[in-house]
């Protein structure tokens, strides 16, 4: 007979695959046409309600990808699996936005990870998380070359995502220090399409599709130092470092005629898109295992990269940074001499500069989060729902501002595995 926990794991996997299938319509993200798209700064885990503040956060049940050193905090012999789904509504404003249509919404699967405490000091996790996404469409009137009065429509479209499959391990030393390594494999495809359309009937005259396949290893290292401060307080100091990596980009261009026959299918020269060194530091303070304050600062050194790394015109890349704060109240009860968390509420603030500088403005992102989570007493499941409101961009300099509201649902499944009959220490 198949064990229940295997059944649940299979069910969650199936749910994940199904979720991927139903996400047909994604929100437009006008800034994603630049670089490698919108670089993901959310983790879709327990720290999401804390404004994604979690470099110095440790959990014995939840998988905290913010810092690979955190997995050593998992409860012994504990297996955990999480998935995250986000619903997002965006209100666009600014002069480039046509007043007749200014909103969009989507649902996307964001995360599937698993983790286990392999030994008393060694925690391990594997998973699939988004790294960046690209999704934009816009139209540009186009004068046919050789004529001053014949206009076609140039319809630009970009879709695609870059994901990270990782295997992270962390080991605890001396009960107060944890080191972690996240070995990620970045992969994905960005598809850009340029369709020249007949203005009178909208039919495609010709289209050029460029598919860029990206891949490489991406290493992240993490450190957490933690201890108690007296009877009531405890702290965690955390740091992460992601090593600069060159993503191998293999572009392929396909040109189609109006009847969809292939005119050209060309494999272009490979090039590299570089991900810069990234640093992060965090601090958390916990009082009576109930109140937790967290703070993070992240910095990505995009500015040191050669501008030609990212082809395009009219924009520049700049070093990005992000600061965030969070506060959590966790309600616990004692069962059989163990403190068991019943539920928690969270809030967070964040403010950041993205790596894009467009029309002389660096694109900023700021917002607030509110989260609520509960652990089921009668099942191995835990639920976490987070509401987020933020503003990205600006209407100045002919840019677009996105006022977004996200609802993130995180489902956690946890169970004790490999006990050999011994359930608790």
């Amino acid at each position: 007979m198949v064990p229940t926990r295997i059944k649940i794991s299979l069910l969650l996997s199936l749910l994940t695959v199904t979720s991927l299938g139903v996400m047909a319509q994604n929100n437009f993200s006008p800034y994603s046409q630049f670089g490698i798209g919108d670089v993901e700064d959310g983790f879709y885990n327990r720290t999401t309600g804390l404004g994604n503040t979690g470099i110095a956060y440790r959990s014995n049940r939840y998988l905290i990808n913010n810092n690979p050193a955190s997995f050593s905090a998992l409860a012994n012999q504990y297996f955990s699996m999480e998935m995250g789904i986000r619903g997002s509504f965006i209100q666009y404003s600014g002069s480039p936005v046509t007043p007749a249509s200014t909103q969009s919404g989507d649902i996307t699967f964001r995360r599937l990870v698993m983790g286990i405490k392999v030994t008393k000091n060694w925690g391990s996790s594997i998973g699939l998380v988004p790294f960046s996404t690209q999704n934009y469409e816009f139209n540009v009137p186009y004068y046919l070359q050789g004529t001053a009065n014949e206009v076609a429509n140039n319809y630009y479209q970009g879709h695609g995502s870059v994901n990270k499959a990782y295997w992270a391990n962390s080991y605890e030393f001396f009960h107060h220090v944890s080191l972690g390594v996240d070995a990620g494999y970045i992969f994905g495809q960005l598809n850009q399409k340029n369709i020249i359309q007949n203005l009178s009937n909208g039919a495609s005259e010709t289209s050029t599709q460029t598919n860029v396949n990206l891949q490489n290893l991406y290493m992240t290292y993490g450190l957490q130092v933690y201890s108690n401060l007296g009877k009531h307080w405890s702290f965690v100091l955390g740091g992460v470092y992601s090593q600069k990596a060159d993503l191998l980009a293999s572009p392929q261009t396909v040109v189609l005629a109006s009847d969809s026959s292939t005119l050209q299918n060309e494999q272009l020269a490979e090039r590299y898109l570089t991900l810069p060194n990234a640093y992060g530091a965090g601090l958390s303070l916990t009082h009576n295992e109930k109140y937790t304050w967290v703070a993070d600062y992240r910095y990505q050194d995009w500015g040191s990269l050669h501008q030609n790394t990212y082809q395009g015109q009219g924009y520049a890349i700049a070093s990005s940074e992000r600061a965030s704060l969070g506060f959590e109240i966790s309600k616990k009860r004692i069962f059989y001499n163990q403190r068991v968390e019943m539920n928690f509420i969270q809030t967070g603030l964040y403010y950041g500069n993205s790596y894009l500088q467009i029309n002389g403005k660096q694109i900023k992102d700021r917002g607030v989060t509110f989260g609520f989570g509960a652990n089921s007493l009668k099942s191995p499941l835990a639920y976490n729902i987070v509401f987020q409101y933020g503003i990205k961009g600006t209407t100045a300099n002919n840019l677009i501002r996105e006022n977004y509201a996200n609802v993130t649902f995180i489902l956690n499944y946890g169970s004790i595995w490999y006990t050999k009959g011994k359930k608790f220490d």
């Binding site: 139903v22 319509q25 929100n27 437009f28 006008p30 046409q33 630049f34 619903g87 997002s88 509504f89 965006i90 666009y92 600014g94 480039p96 936005v97 046509t98 249509s101 909103q103 969009s104 919404g105 989507d106 649902i107 934009y136 469409e137 816009f138 540009v140 186009y142 046919l144 070359q145 050789g146 004529t147 014949e150 140039n154 630009y156 340029n194 020249i196 005259e205 010709t206 289209s207 050029t208 460029t210 261009t253 040109v255 005629a257 005119l263 272009l268 082809q311 395009g312 015109q313 009219g314 924009y315 019943m342 467009i358 509960a374 089921s376 007493l377 639920y383 729902i385 609802v407 649902f409």
Partner: protein
Amino acid sequence: MTNNKFLRKELLFPIFSSLLALFFVAGCQKQPDLLFGSTFTDQGKGANIILVDTNTVVMSTVLVDSTATSGTGYLQVGSYNDDYLGNITSRAYWQVNPPGNLPTLDPRSTTYDSIGLVLFAKTGNPYYGDTTVYQRYVVNQIDTLYQEANGQFGWYSHDSLPLGPDLGSATVRIFPNLNTLLNLSNTSQGTGDTVRIPMDKALGQQLYNMIYNKSDTITNPTKWQNWFHGLCLSPGGSGNGSNVANLIYGFKDSAIMRIYYRQNAVISSGAYIDFPIGNKGFQFNNVITHYGGNGGYQNKPVDSLVRPTRNPQIPPATVSSRTNHVSFVQSIGGLNVKLSFPYITSIALRADYIGLLRASLIVRPVPGSFSTTWRLPPAVGIFSTDQNNLPLAAIPAAGLAGAQTGALLLDYFHPLNTEYTYDVTGFIKQALLNSSPNALQTGVYLTIPSPANTGAFNRLIIADQSYPVDQRITLNVYYISLYPHQ
């Protein structure tokens, strides 16, 4: 009893339901319309569309010695002086049948009156030229056997038969667009939709007597045809004279030669005997032109056309530079246009060429060459052609079946806007890759489609590429361009 304040299983359903509803609403959202990004795009990276409108078009007039003008349904009669084509005259020939049922004539009670020709000028009949003037129509009897010679199959525009003396004439003005249902008459004779030409009384008397005598010349069709060969209707003052009325009008081919007589009684009454048109397939129109100096030079561009000199012969093509930089389409007169594109293959040799998108041919009439009097042909067909200068297959528009007729855009107020447009994508696609030795002689052929090719005199004068850009014939080739990536 313990009250559990924590999340209950029952709460799962509303939470999941809310989430599902949220997802559903999100899935139905329309995407925003953003006009953002154009300044950041790199348009050189993708394929472009490039228009080449400077293709060389070699234009020639192909002069065919004749066209089949028999059995067209109309007696085309008239003459006009064209600024470009010179004098054009058309005469109609037809056989006359004896009456089917001969009336019994009695000299005591019936009296011969007269004979005349009744022509039908129905609303909608073809015409070309100036309808504000009076035209004189002359009737002649054909003075030879009306039969095909050895090796002759049908009657053509250049055929004519010797004529006897004039049998009669009438000068009349026709209003071709007046509706006889609303007006009493559409001719100046006031005779409804008919034109009546009095004929020679002696001929009428002779025929009347033959009917009275039941002459076998009347009753025997062969003897009749040997005796009365047929009639010819011509415009009065035809030729190069200045008394040309500048109108060709097409009467219905139901013309009748009619003998009028009187039946005497207490009250006398009129009666008539009809001699209807004979074999309608034998009725033909003789079109007299002077192209290539045939019948005398008129100091017109058409004087320079190369005429066919023997039969059979490939119709000769005269390049537009020899005809004052214009070419002519008037199929009933034997004028058609051949276009060839000698350098078209160079487009496919461009470094950035990866495929043809479409090609269109724009044919523009010479400004001032047309008016509401000298009307353009409403339809001009396009065919492929080769070194034989004859129309081959009709060239359809891309993705469509059927022949094209130019989709005439007619603008009398802004004549420069007037043009015929053809989709020649399929033809150019083949021409771009045509490596045949005869490639330079292949091209397209502009001609008037049936039935107007033998029934209408509307003509098109096409400007060649020596004319200003907006007045000349143009071949627009739109190709898809992608420069090789470095």
